[in-house]
């Protein structure tokens, strides 16, 4: 049963979300941060894709339910793209 979550370091949360979406939802690694300023941040869209897959409330934000799923042990095969 869930207990009140401890306040988590925001940086750690963002890193968890990014790594999860890179591993399983084909979120491209942001190697060129200066380019990112001009482009649309793909993270919320990927997050929505992940939330829809797991039947969560689709918010595009890393809410508690979303983080809970991301922390569960799982299979290493991506959920949505071809595994090669």
């Amino acid at each position: 049963f869930p207990v009140a979550p401890e306040a988590e370091d925001e940086g750690k949360t963002i890193a968890l979300v990014e790594t999860y979406l890179q591993n399983f939802y084909n979120l491209q690694k942001d190697d060129q941060p200066h380019v990112r300023l001009k482009s649309v941040n793909p993270l919320p869209e990927k997050l929505k894709e992940m939330q829809a897959f797991f039947g969560l409330k689709v918010t595009g934000k890393p809410d508690l339910d979303t983080l809970e799923i991301m922390k569960k042990p799982r299979c290493g095969v991506p959920d949505i793209r071809r595994y090669v």
Partner: protein
């Protein structure tokens, strides 16, 4: 399905176990793998032959961290395993993270469950969005003895390889949906203000302040409990929930299974002719608990810890025409009886049924 719909061109596939985890006996690993293969061969025309000394279609190995396939493992927990879609060389292969605590039961990660999932990928299945499916991406423990391949996985694999050669086609369990008008329940109880609806391997958990019911595996909360609980009731006074299956019962104290359980239901005073309890509820005002079995009910005194005399009585004599009871619970002074997809609201003060509803009326559908 995996993108591009890859599949094996032959139905007779080979597998090879390259190494073993030190945490389990080799015989247990072999058994887990054979059982995982039979999960898929039971529902398709596929067969699997073990080979020892040459390249097999499906190579199974325990590896750690970077193992030269561009998909490193991450140490304990997190990623447990992965597998490759049907194809030559690495295609079909299953890699298991050897830093996980692999077990043949539910103490660590159950090897059979994980390999059965990975073999789904080896055969061409992708991840399912059905939280009850074997091919759902996150790990959930099911006792291997109680495992039945869910219908979602059967439908998927049969769409690739066709039906089994068996004369009777196997079927599997489906995941309960709160708003399914045909939904029935195995057991229902309150638990510290929440409502818990038991169905097969699942609990639908309804919090009064939340509109949506949460679906979870029973094993997620209580790994030692079996699936298909048959009756449950809350004793608010003692802050306990009793859960029944066949001739055994468990006690939840708070949210945890109390030590020393399961115990025999005969300790509660049932005669040996009783093999199971269908439903139960406890009346907090009188301290009496009612047990429903077939067309009769027993009354138990929680204070005296014994069955009251004069029971069993016929359900119809005291509760009206509610038939046999699948599940029951008391809430806000009313008792709710469930029979199939029908629910009866019973008012104990006037001793009659005051309302008839669908069984899933507690969910905002």
């Amino acid at each position: 399905f995996t993108e591009g719909n890859p599949k094996w061109k032959r139905n007779n596939l080979t597998y090879r176990i390259l190494n073993y985890t030190p945490l389990m006996g080799q015989a247990d690993v072999d058994e887990a793998i054979q059982k995982a293969l039979s999960v898929w061969s039971n529902v398709t025309p596929l067969t699997f032959e073990k080979i020892e000394d040459k390249e097999a279609d499906i190579m199974i190995s325990f590896v750690v961290r970077d193992h030269k396939d561009n998909s490193p493992f991450d140490g304990p927990n997190g990623l447990l395993a992965h597998a490759f879609q049907p194809g030559e060389a690495i295609g079909g292969d299953v890699h298991l993270d050897n830093e996980e605590y692999w077990t043949k039961d539910g103490r660590g990660y159950n090897l059979f469950i994980v390999i059965a999932h990975e073999l789904g990928h080896s055969l061409g299945l992708s991840h399912s969005t059905d939280p009850g499916a074997l091919m759902y991406p996150t790990y959930a423990y099911t006792d291997p003895k109680e495992f039945h391949l869910p219908q979602d996985d059967i439908d998927g694999i049969q769409a690739i390889y066709g039906q089994s050669n068996a004369p009777v086609q196997p079927t599997g369990p489906t995941t309960p949906q709160a708003c399914d008008p045909n939904l029935t329940f195995d057991a229902i109880t309150t638990l510290r203000g929440e409502m818990m609806f038991f169905k097969g391997r699942y609990i639908l958990r309804k919090h009064p302040q939340r509109t949506e019911a949460e679906l979870n595996f029973i094993s997620l909360f209580w790994p030692k409990l079996p699936s298909a609980i048959q009756a449950a009731y809350e004793n608010i006074e003692k802050d306990e929930v009793l859960l029944f299956k066949e001739d055994k019962y468990w006690v939840l104290r708070g949210y945890d299974i109390a030590p020393g359980y399961p115990r025999s239901i005969y300790r509660l005073g049932f005669p040996k002719t009783i093999k199971r309890v269908n439903a139960a509820y406890s009346d907090e005002t009188t301290g009496k608990t009612y047990f429903f079995i077939a067309d009769r009910y027993w009354r138990y005194d929680e204070n005296k810890r014994s069955m009251d005399h004069g029971y069993p009585r016929k359900i119809v004599s005291d509760f009206g025409k509610i038939g046999r009871v699948d599940a029951a619970f008391q809430k806000d002074g009313y008792v709710y009886f469930f029979h199939g997809t029908t629910q009866f609201q019973f008012d104990p003060r006037v001793k009659r049924i005051v309302r008839k509803m669908k069984s899933n009326s507690w969910f905002d559908c």
